[in-house]
């Protein structure tokens, strides 16, 4: 099969799977899966930029996605004026302290000669800076968290439309990636992995504990939406009319007395489908834009340079390419894409819940998507996002069905049967690992391997 046919066939199969769910379960379920497939695909695209283009092993995806989530809160929520007046000044002063400390440390690091004195001096600056910052920040934070703690207790956001947060999320993640990259890039690949694992855990810890910023584990719910609400749709006049028109046949077969009740039910069902469709449209738009940009980048001289660096750092460096700078660049870009997806995810959820970020789901699952889909191939990563998310969700009903069938001989009260039915959902982790290992072993390029033009096969 040619590359083109293979791609078309794989995507057609994926559409078929989604349609099968639509007819076997419901359209609502399909669209819910589709929306998360789209977001997963964007995350996988981001990871593919880092891994597929440049061979950077980032296992901090969870952190960058969470930063996107923070952006959704900080952009869309209305500012809490009382909290700002209670602690805004103090926080501002402590922010200046932080900036001053960092600037001073950088200055000292650059100006002082290497040796014990420099280490001592730097430590002193950081320790003093830390305590001065705490001196201003602590009372300010306490004051902010005391403002109507049950409802707010945080600074709030900027009150802008939530769509802006998708850009802001990308910027936040890019900023964090720049800092991590400065430290860990240029060292061995394993060190980057461990450093990113660390930064993602820290980001989550900060989000869980800094209540003044994001309310911590108290969660921020009721984020605004870029699409209409179901209830509004149901109240509007055009929407029920449209539903009535679409279902004229079915409705006419219902007895006249029950007709308005049946219509009411349909309108509720359709409104939820309509909202999900709107989301799907927005997400698909973002995915397509990013996909086009990545494809352009990959096929440009820049993309060829990145691949050259990935395949042989020594020779690329001999050709005068600045490896560390290019790695930093691609690391920041990829993380920004993940941040965008993270903001979109929080937008879709309508709430920000730091407690739900889990490295298996937000970091390692994305990796499975990229490897299974095809690292180095943008469409492959997107397909991987779709396939893996689909099976991640559908493995649960399938696994339950399987366990049910396998253990039906034990009888309903059997301990083994009950235990297995309860824990069947965890088998999907096992399944994901197995799929990853099988693909790596038997089809290392993934479902859609990287397309390499004009290159002879390596020996």
């Amino acid at each position: 099969m040619s590359v083109r046919n293979r791609t078309l066939f794989s995507f057609a199969l994926m559409v078929g799977l989604l349609l099968a769910v639509a007819f076997l379960q419901s359209w609502s379920v399909t669209l819910a899966i589709l929306n998360l497939c789209l977001i997963s695909a964007i995350m996988a695209l981001g990871v593919n930029i880092q891994w597929g283009y440049a061979g950077l092993f980032n296992v901090g995806i969870m952190g960058f996605a969470a930063l996107g989530g923070v952006a959704a809160v900080l952009v869309s929520k209305a500012p809490v004026v009382e909290a700002w007046s209670a602690g805004g000044g103090g926080l501002f002063v402590s922010l200046i302290c932080i900036v001053f400390t960092v600037a001073l440390s950088v200055f000292a690091y650059r100006r002082l000669p290497q040796g014990r004195n420099r280490v001592l001096c730097l430590s002193l600056i950081i320790v003093v800076g830390y305590f001065v910052t705490r001196y201003f920040a602590d009372p300010a934070i306490a004051a902010i968290e005391a403002v109507d703690a049950a409802k707010t207790g945080y600074l709030g956001g900027m009150g802008l439309p939530i769509m802006f947060s998708w850009i802001a999320g990308g910027l936040f993640a890019a900023g964090a990636a720049w800092i991590v990259g400065k430290v860990a890039l240029g060292l061995r690949s394993d060190y980057l992995a461990i450093a990113t694992l660390g930064i993602s855990e820290i980001i989550i810890a900060i989000l869980k504990n800094e209540d003044w910023l994001t309310r911590g584990v108290k969660n921020v719910s009721g984020l605004s939406r870029p699409v209409p609400y179901e209830v509004e749709l149901q109240k509007n006049s055009w929407f029920p009319e449209l539903v009535e028109k679409l279902n004229a046949d079915t409705l006419s077969s219902v007895a006249l007395a029950d007709r308005s009740g049946a219509l009411q039910k349909l309108v509720i069902e359709y409104s939820s489908v309509f909202v999900k469709l709107c989301y799907a449209g927005l997400f698909a738009l973002v995915l397509i834009v990013l996909l086009v940009l990545s494809a352009k980048a990959l096929n440009s001289p820049w993309g060829r340079m990145m691949r050259a660096i990935r395949d042989n750092e020594v020779s690329a460096s001999a050709m005068g390419k600045d490896i560390t700078a290019r790695h930093l660049q691609v690391f920041v870009l990829g993380s920004a894409v993940v941040g965008i997806a993270g903001a979109m995810l929080t937008t879709l959820d309508g709430q920000f819940t730091p407690g739900t970020y889990n490295p298996l789901r937000f970091t390692f699952l994305i990796w499975v998507m990229v490897i299974v889909g095809g690292s180095g191939n943008n469409l492959g990563a997107v397909l991987g996002g779709f396939v893996i998310w689909f099976f991640w969700i559908e493995a649960e009903p399938m696994g339950l069905w399987l366990v049910d069938a396998l253990t039906s001989g034990f009888g309903d009260s059997s301990f083994i049967r009950i235990h297995m039915m309860e824990n069947a959902q965890h088998m999907r982790l096992f399944l994901m690992g197995l799929v990853l290992l099988l693909v790596m072993r038997f089809s290392p390029g993934g479902i859609l391997p990287e397309v390499v033009h004009r290159r002879k096969k390596e020996e």
Partner: protein, 342 residues
């Protein structure tokens, strides 16, 4: 006046021992054992094993299941936890698991001499599989399996014994952790330094080609390494579970401090892993401890601090291992004991 002062000083020291020294020593021992496993894999097989936390969880799970079985049969180990009797079974299970995964997954890449990062991704796959197995068998929730005596010294007894106002508590699990860790480390070093197999492993780790030339059987070296990894992981996991509690997710999160410990000490160096484990544990505990009471004893009454005097909240303990990691990466990437750089 002097007596009052010295009494306060002793109280302050007891306070610190109780809340910082003893917990950090036992946590450090657990981390050191975990980091030893990581460093062994790194030294011999040359990759960062992301599945190590889950290997620990698997071994511990086996120990817990056997412990429950023993308990149901009425077997106990007197004042010590029954889990110690179940340890050999857990070690066996974890060792077999490691060898199965080596034969089915890593061996293939070894033969093809794949890049280290390929192993790392494969270990992520293995991590998923073990994680799924553990959750499937024992569930994702907290499990307690400690039994027997709980304390070596209770705070109240200590107070009565010494007449101090601060008590010192040492849990059996803490005492056991430190004792077992010391014994295990001595045994491991004896094995690595004195036995033929241990020497072969070190030679293999230093220079693979040279080791192969001198007739060392690489398959045996790899096999023994995995058995040791299973042993260290199970013991570290069981001790951690006895000391705190067993939850699969917590074991996954232990990866970061364990990696930090291995790297800080110098990855690939067993001594480094031990030192690194204690460095990380002591930093975590000292930085997240609230010193309010400590200063209350030491400072004159009118200078009592009003805050908790806590540098970082306990939830930021990951940040501590991370910051140490970053400092080491920037200042001395090979770690304290000049570890490997592949």
């Amino acid at each position: 006046m002097t007596e009052w002062f010295s009494n306060d000083l002793i109280n302050a020291l007891v306070l610190i021992s109780n809340f910082v020294l003893v917990p950090a020593l036992s946590y450090g021992s657990q981390l050191a054992l975990g980091a030893l496993g990581i460093t062994l894999v790194y030294g011999v097989l040359r990759f960062s094993n992301f599945a190590h936390g889950d290997t620990m969880a698997f071994g511990t799970m086996a120990v817990i299941l056997v412990t429950w079985w023993f308990q149901s049969m009425g077997i106990s180990f007197g004042p010590l936890p029954t889990a110690l009797l179940a340890l050999p079974f857990g070690i066996l299970a974890a060792g077999i698991l490691c060898i199965i995964f080596d034969r089915s997954v890593y061996k293939y890449y070894r033969q093809r001499k794949s890049a280290p990062v390929v192993y790392v991704i494969a270990s992520v796959g293995v991590m998923f599989m073990i994680n799924g197995i553990v959750r499937f068998i024992i569930g994702p929730n907290d499990q307690r399996f400690a039994d027997g005596e709980r304390f070596i010294i209770k705070a109240r007894e200590f107070k009565q014994m010494t007449g101090l106002s601060e008590g010192l508590t040492i849990k059996v699990s803490q005492g056991l952790t430190i004792f077992i860790a010391v014994a295990l480390v001595i045994a491991l070093f004896w094995f690595l330094q004195r036995t033929r197999m241990g020497k072969a492993m070190r030679a293999f780790s230093d220079n693979e080609d040279l080791a192969l030339l001198s007739g060392i059987n690489p398959d045996r070296v790899v096999l023994v390494t995995w058995v040791l990894v299973g042993l260290l992981a199970t013991i570290a996991g069981t001790l951690y579970g006895l000391d705190k509690s067993f939850k699969p997710f917590t074991y996954l999160q232990l990866l970061l401090p364990m990696f930090a410990a291995a790297i800080v000490g110098g990855i690939g160096k067993p001594v480094g892993a031990i030192v690194g484990g204690f460095v990380i544990a002591f930093s975590e505990v000292t930085v997240t401890y609230a010193y309010k009471k400590f200063f209350k004893y030491l400072l004159p009454e009118n200078m009592e601090p009003d805050g908790l005097m806590q540098l970082l909240s306990t939830d930021y303990k990951f940040a501590v291992s991370f910051i140490i990691l970053v400092v080491v990466l920037v200042v001395r990437p090979t770690g304290i004991f000049k570890g490997k750089v592949v």
